[in-house]
Assembly symmetry: C2
Homo-oligomer: 286 residues x 2
């Protein structure tokens, strides 16, 4: 773990990862297209190397972490394949896994590079290098998604990497990952967004009367729209499946209320309360 790590993309995740690694005296180079985030990172993270030339950034690294928007990743993988002479172990931080795992497979086929997908589940509705913090990953989950042809030692190295920044690592297939996050992360975002527009879209002044409930329920809707547009479209199939399931539950609830079924309504709410109280417990969050 003493070798150089190249982080491509100085955003919230890439910047925070650089800070966490540099705090452990690791050799870290961060590549970015624009100079401003690199300058910002340099000013808050002494000891990091920044680089705007992709080939230079990757050349001496053994591990490469793609920390850009998902749509940018295939181009980066192609550049690495073309320019890097030594074989790299490559991972990413994308919120959707099946598409990037499949693309990496195609792009890197026959090369000496290896890709093992990761989804460090850290972050918040904040974005950008300004929100980066060395503790972002502490105690949070990281889902690592090898495919059946991933060499065990490469998977183990990626898992150890995330554990080194205090993440709790789990392995599962990219497809299972995408289905899970559609339900526990993308669906909450979709419902939070449509709740905002439904609740106050026609009457923004009503928000003056809202309490902590609407505020918490919609918090994630303040997330970066471009990033979430990309996530919803990359994970389209699983997101639609979860939205359709939510619509069924909405119709079931509306029907119970319409027909004034007291017992059924109480059961609906009690089941949700018990599920939440037993399972959705506070996570260790920065």
């Amino acid at each position: 773990m003493g070798e150089r790590v190249a982080i491509l993309g100085p955003g919230l995740l890439g910047g925070s990862l650089a800070m966490a690694l540099v705090a452990q005296q690791r050799d870290v180079v961060v590549w970015g297209r624009r100079q401003q985030p690199l300058d910002h990172l340099k000013s808050v993270c002494h000891g990091v190397t920044v680089e705007s030339d992709l080939d230079h950034a990757v050349a001496d690294a053994s591990l490469v972490v793609l920390a850009t928007p998902i749509g940018v990743m295939p181009g980066l993988l192609r550049s690495i394949r073309q320019s890097a002479s030594s074989g790299k172990l490559i991972t990413d931080v994308g919120s959707v896994k099946a598409p990037i795992v499949a693309q990496a497979e195609t792009i890197l086929e026959g090369s000496s590079h290896l890709f093992v997908g990761s989804h460090p589940m850290a972050g918040s509705e904040a974005s950008g290098i300004e929100a980066a913090t060395a503790g972002l990953f502490d105690g949070a989950r990281c889902l690592v998604t090898p495919h059946e042809r991933s060499p065990a030692d490469a998977v183990e190295e990626i898992a150890a990497f995330w554990k080194s920044v205090a993440m709790r690592v789990h392995q599962l297939s990219a497809e299972e990952h995408d289905r899970i996050v559609a339900h526990i992360s993308h669906l909450p975002h979709a419902l939070a967004s449509l709740l905002v527009t439904t609740a106050i879209g026609d009457h923004p002044e009503w928000a003056a009367f809202c309490g902590g409930g609407l505020q918490d329920t919609t918090r994630v809707a303040s997330g970066e729209p471009h990033m979430w547009t990309e996530i919803f479209l990359e994970n389209r199939k699983a997101v639609l499946e979860s939205l359709n399931a939510a619509e069924s539950e909405l119709r079931r609830l509306a029907s119970i209320i319409e027909s004034e079924e007291i017992e059924a309504l109480n059961r609906f709410l009690l089941e949700a309360k018990e599920l939440r109280d037993s399972h959705i417990v506070p996570q260790i969050q920065p």
Copy 2:
């Protein structure tokens, strides 16, 4: 404001109200059917009078606050009408206003008692006297819902009462109140509950991978099911209207995702983000 206040119902709101008033050396009697909450209140709020006989509790009070579940309120109003010799000014803390305002009108017609509905928008997913705190109302909103026949001085007295516990008071009609809270409070609760069952109902183990997003988005679903059953049924018409509007937004979002309309999806999410960031600002909450 130096006269006795009778609070009927020693729950979260009634108990907190008693604590806030007693802290100001006000003369407060709290009535409850069961002894345990009264004993608890007495132990944490020295100076409060507790009473399990309704007629005694109300006899010497000038102001009566109904702080029970909504369904219990009509019975309490009938008791007051039957037993109280002097005219009382009566208000409540119910989350739905049109039904109780209409019932109070009928029950108290021709008596010397006056009812002006209130909805102090304080509280949380916690409930019961154990969660009560003197600061619960500090800075929170209180919606007062007079009808056209409410005497102005009675309305003014109720408004002044809530202001005396540091609430920010607004007046509007009971019907407008119910439509607003359906959208900004009852709909968030409904969506939070159905989100829990949709996200992890079939796979509670998936919750292990959830972050702060699902946790915050579903927080209110931990609320007391009986109370929310009552609220949804009392405010049935407005709640169904808001649920139907949410379903339309859900379908609109799903259709945009299905047809991969990048620009429309980005606009949808951006509109929600901008609405939230501009209007759903942190409230002063205990």
